[in-house]
Every structure is written in C-alpha cells, then in structure tokens.
C-alpha cells in the first residue's frame, strides 16, 4: 500500500469526471513508478513506451473502476502491454544497453557496502535489475518500484501469486548479491538456479 494511494484514488475519480488538473496529479503520482518499471523492461525506450501508455490510459480512463492502488495496477498493465508490443516490434531485448558501462564503476566493487548502497544511482540500480531474469526483474519492479501488492503484481503479470512471490524473493536476493559485488563468486548465499 503506497502512501499516496488515497490521494491518487481521489485524483483519478475527479479526472474521470473531467478534471484536468486532477489527471495531472495522477500522472505525477504514477509516472515515476511506471517509468522505472519500463526501464527495467525496455531500457532506453522507456519514455516512448510510457507516452504510448499514457495515451491509452487517458483514452480508457472512463472504463477504469477501482481505487488508487487499483489504478496503479491498471496503468501498469497498460504499460506492460505497450512494452511487450514494443519489444515485439523490435525483436530484441535492449535492456540497459547504455547502462552496462556504469556497472564497471559500481561503487560496491571498490568501497564498503554502506557507501555502495548510499551512492547507488538510478541508472545503476536499474542496470542491476536488468541483469535479473525477466520474470524476477518484472516482479521486483512491480513490487518495489510501482508499489503493487502481491495479488496486483500477479494480476499484471498474469501469473499465480506464489510464482510472483518467488520471483520477487529471488530477484531481491540476487540484487543484494550484485550490490555486494558478488557477480560470480560464491560466499555461501548464492541462489541456486535462478528462475526464468
């Protein structure tokens, strides 16, 4: 449950009545999460895909029924569909192409853990996520960045809640390992057999 879901729900309701300013409020509340999620899927084309998504969101706003959390789920589903369409058109999976270089300078490999964590940038964070298997990446992004709860994330992904829970858990574990700079070495906590 997001902190602003109440505000979001109210804004969506007003926007459905035609309130333009309310729609802008909804946009501001939702876009960061959507964009972060899309970056994890389509990488650099996230803004374009997000634009497509908002076109559809604005057009179909009248169909939506639900509260603020529901709106997050609904808009994430739309964004995901646009992202998958985009990937199909491109026939590639260009995740974090320009971001990989950042990995080499990831602070975690040269400094203490705390420093690494504190200085983690958006790009670096998303680059790490991009290294996860797709299902783990999506699960983590939807849960952590978009802020959906388990059932909502499962609905967006079209999977069973248990599968999403597992993917999220594994994804976060993997991320922790990556943050510690353990790409390959084994310190006893490596996940055996990642999903996906």
């Amino acid at each position: 449950m997001q902190a602003y879901d109440g505000e979001l729900g109210a804004a969506v309701a007003r926007a459905q009545d035609g309130d333009e300013a309310a729609f802008a409020v909804a946009y501001r509340l939702v876009q960061p999460g959507l964009l972060g999620y899309l970056r994890g899927i389509v990488g650099d084309d996230a803004e374009d895909v997000a634009s497509d998504a908002w076109l559809e969101i604005a057009r179909d706003l009248g169909r939506f029924k639900g509260d603020g959390a529901g709106f997050r789920g609904w808009s994430a589903t739309i964004a995901r569909h646009r992202a998958l369409d985009h990937l199909r058109r491109q026939k590639v999976r260009p995740r974090a192409t320009a971001l990989e270089n950042d990995l080499l300078e990831l602070p975690g490999t040269h400094s203490t853990q705390d420093q690494a964590l504190e200085s983690l940038s958006t790009e670096q964070a998303l680059a790490l996520v991009a290294r996860l298997p797709r299902d783990q990446a999506e699960a983590v992004l939807l849960r952590v960045i978009v802020g959906l709860d388990g059932p909502a994330a499962a609905r967006v992904l079209g999977k069973r809640p248990g599968a999403v829970r597992t993917a999220t858990h594994r994804g976060l574990k993997r991320l922790a390992q990556l943050l510690r700079g353990e790409g390959v070495t084994d310190d006893g906590s490596r996940t055996l057999g990642e999903s996906g």
């Binding site: 333009e20 997000a50 029924k65 589903t77 853990q113 958006t122 976060l172 510690r180």
Partner: protein
C-alpha cells in the same frame, strides 16, 4: 525486507512485500528493496514534457466524447474481495443450475414410469419388500400438521427433480425417510460389523443408503442440509408416529450398508441430485441417471453441504447441495 533482516525498522515494508529472506549476509544499513526504490524514484526528474503530453491526451479524449465506455473485466480493479466473492458465487450458481437442469430432465423422463411401476410414489431403495412395508406405513398416518413442510418440497417450483411434483404423499414419504435416516444414524457406529450383515438380511443384494431424492426431500423439509437439521426434524416428525417399527428396518439395514459404502460414491454425484437408483435396484425407476454408483450416504457429506459453495466436497456433496440448495433457495 529482502536481505535486510538486521534492519528491524523495515518491518512494515517487509510485511507488505510478504517476503521472508532465507538468510545470508545482510546489506548493512538498508534493505535492498528500499534502496532500489529510493534510487529509482530519486532519479526521476520532473517529467514536465511527459506530463504535458499526457494531459493533452486526456483533454482530447475527453473532448472526443465521454461515451459511456464499458468497463471490461481487465478494467475492474476494485478491491479484490468483492470480485472474488462474486466470481465464486456466480460460478457456484452456474454449476448448481447446470446440475439441477440435468437432473431434472433425467428424472422427469423416468418419473411417470416409476410411479406407475411402484404404485404410490415408491422410494427407491430397490427393496421390494421394504417398499411394500414402507408404503403401508406411509399410508397410515396422514399428518396434517406437518404436511405443509413436505409439500413445500413438492411445490418448490424450481426443483428440477420433477419427481417430487408427482409424488402424491409427500408427508408420508418424508416420514419414511426420517425413519430410515434415524435408523441409519443410530447404527452408523456399527459399521465395523458390516461384514456380518447389519440385520442379517437384506432384501436384495444391493444395499443402498437413502437415495438422493429421499435425502433431498428430507433436507428440504428439515430446512437444512446438516445432520442436525434432519435429525431434529425427523425427531419431531416421528415422535408422533410412535415407533419406527420394523418397517423401516430392512430398508435401513440396506441403508446402513450403503452408508458404510458411502464414500464410494454418491449417487447424486454428477450434480443432478436426481433419485436414480442406479444399479441393483431392480425397480423400474432404474434411472437414466448417468452415474451408476451407489446412493449417497447422507451423513457423510451432509455437513460439508451446509454452505452453498462446496468446491471441496466430493461429488456427492456437491450434487446434493445442488438438489437441495438450488430449488429451495434457503440455507
């Protein structure tokens, strides 16, 4: 959450994420998910261009007429509880109606033949002797007071087990059913002696518990599908009659045996709830029922029937509830 178990302050977020990390070294000061969220969100600059585009899209969509667009299933994101309940109720009702329809058609097809064959609304245990005795007993007391209740089962309009409508003496039947049921309950504990034969004799080889139609009538009359309801109702009904006598005995014996066979398979299994006396009956009502297993044994699955939606039941439970809950509409 995530690896950050040591950071106790993340408790709420951990719960929200519903994730229990199995251990391993923790990320010192923050949990991974919080960190990730902060990193990504923090990097989001004010997307003013995107916002302007989005609001423009909103405006044009609004101006293109806010036609009442239909909320498709994928657009319905109302809190889940309502949706799930509706879905399960809808599904259950659909299943019940389907079952009732099938059962009613089947039973109606054989109903008249059955009645002609056995005289006044025979029960279906397929024990000729028992039928005779039962009918005799049934004939005797016409209970005016409680006749209203069994009649309800006859009148229950939607009851697709059309056989009920044709039965002339609902009260008498119910009484006999009660008697049979009581005997069954009473001797249920002696299942282990089944190999010796319950009463040492059976009218025929089959041995069945109360057939589905009889059970259904009983539960309708009793106003509930639980054992307690039926027992209470029967206790009330039979007190006046005085003594079950041996009339129900033989039939009950077979019922008991059938009861112990209970799990084997409920006659009403396929959701039709029709009476069907499937196999050994020798009686003309030998049903067209698709299933051929024994009659349902009421007590074993009565309890689960208490709720209309009984996905966890064995087939018998489901069918019976189809028979009783659907038409009566109560419970």
């Amino acid at each position: 959450m995530g690896e950050g178990r040591d950071s106790g302050g993340r408790g709420d977020r951990r719960r929200a994420m519903n994730d229990a990390t199995a251990g391993g070294p923790t990320v010192a000061s923050a949990s991974v998910d919080t960190l990730l969220a902060a990193a990504v969100r923090g990097g989001a600059e004010a997307d003013s261009a995107g916002e302007i585009r989005a609001v423009a899209a909103f405006r044009s969509a609004r101006e293109n007429g806010a036609r009442t667009a239909r909320t498709r299933r994928r657009d319905d994101w109302r809190p889940n509880a309502r949706r799930r309940v509706q879905l399960s109720v809808r599904t259950t009702l659909a299943a019940l109606l389907a079952g009732l329809t099938l059962g009613g058609v089947a039973f109606a097809a054989v109903g008249p033949a059955a009645r002609d064959g056995n005289g006044a609304g025979a029960h279906d245990s397929g024990h000729g002797g028992r039928d005779g005795r039962t009918r005799t007993t049934d004939g005797a007391p016409a209970r005016p007071g409680s006749s209203g209740i069994p009649d309800a089962s006859d009148v229950s309009g939607v009851n697709p087990s059309a056989g009920d409508d044709g039965r002339p003496t609902g009260a008498q039947d119910t009484e006999a059913h009660c008697r049979a049921y009581e005997k069954y309950v009473k001797y249920e504990k002696y299942e282990k002696y089944e190999k010796y034969g319950r009463y040492g004799k059976k009218a025929d080889g089959g041995g069945k518990a109360m057939d589905a139609a009889a059970w259904r009538r009983l539960t309708e009359a009793a106003g509930g599908t639980a054992d307690e309801d039926v027992q209470a109702y029967c206790a009330q009904r039979l007190d006046g009659t005085g003594g079950t006598g041996g009339t129900g005995g033989t039939g009950v014996g077979d019922q008991n045996k059938a009861a112990s066979d209970g799990p084997k398979g409920s006659g009403g299994a396929d959701g039709s709830g029709g009476p069907g006396d499937p196999d050994t009956s020798g009686k003309p009502t030998a049903s067209n029922e698709p299933r051929s297993s024994n009659q349902p044994s009421p007590p074993t699955s009565a309890a689960p029937q208490a709720t209309p939606s009984s996905p966890s039941n064995a087939s018998g439970g489901r069918s019976r509830s189809a028979g009783t809950d659907g038409p009566a509409g109560k419970n």
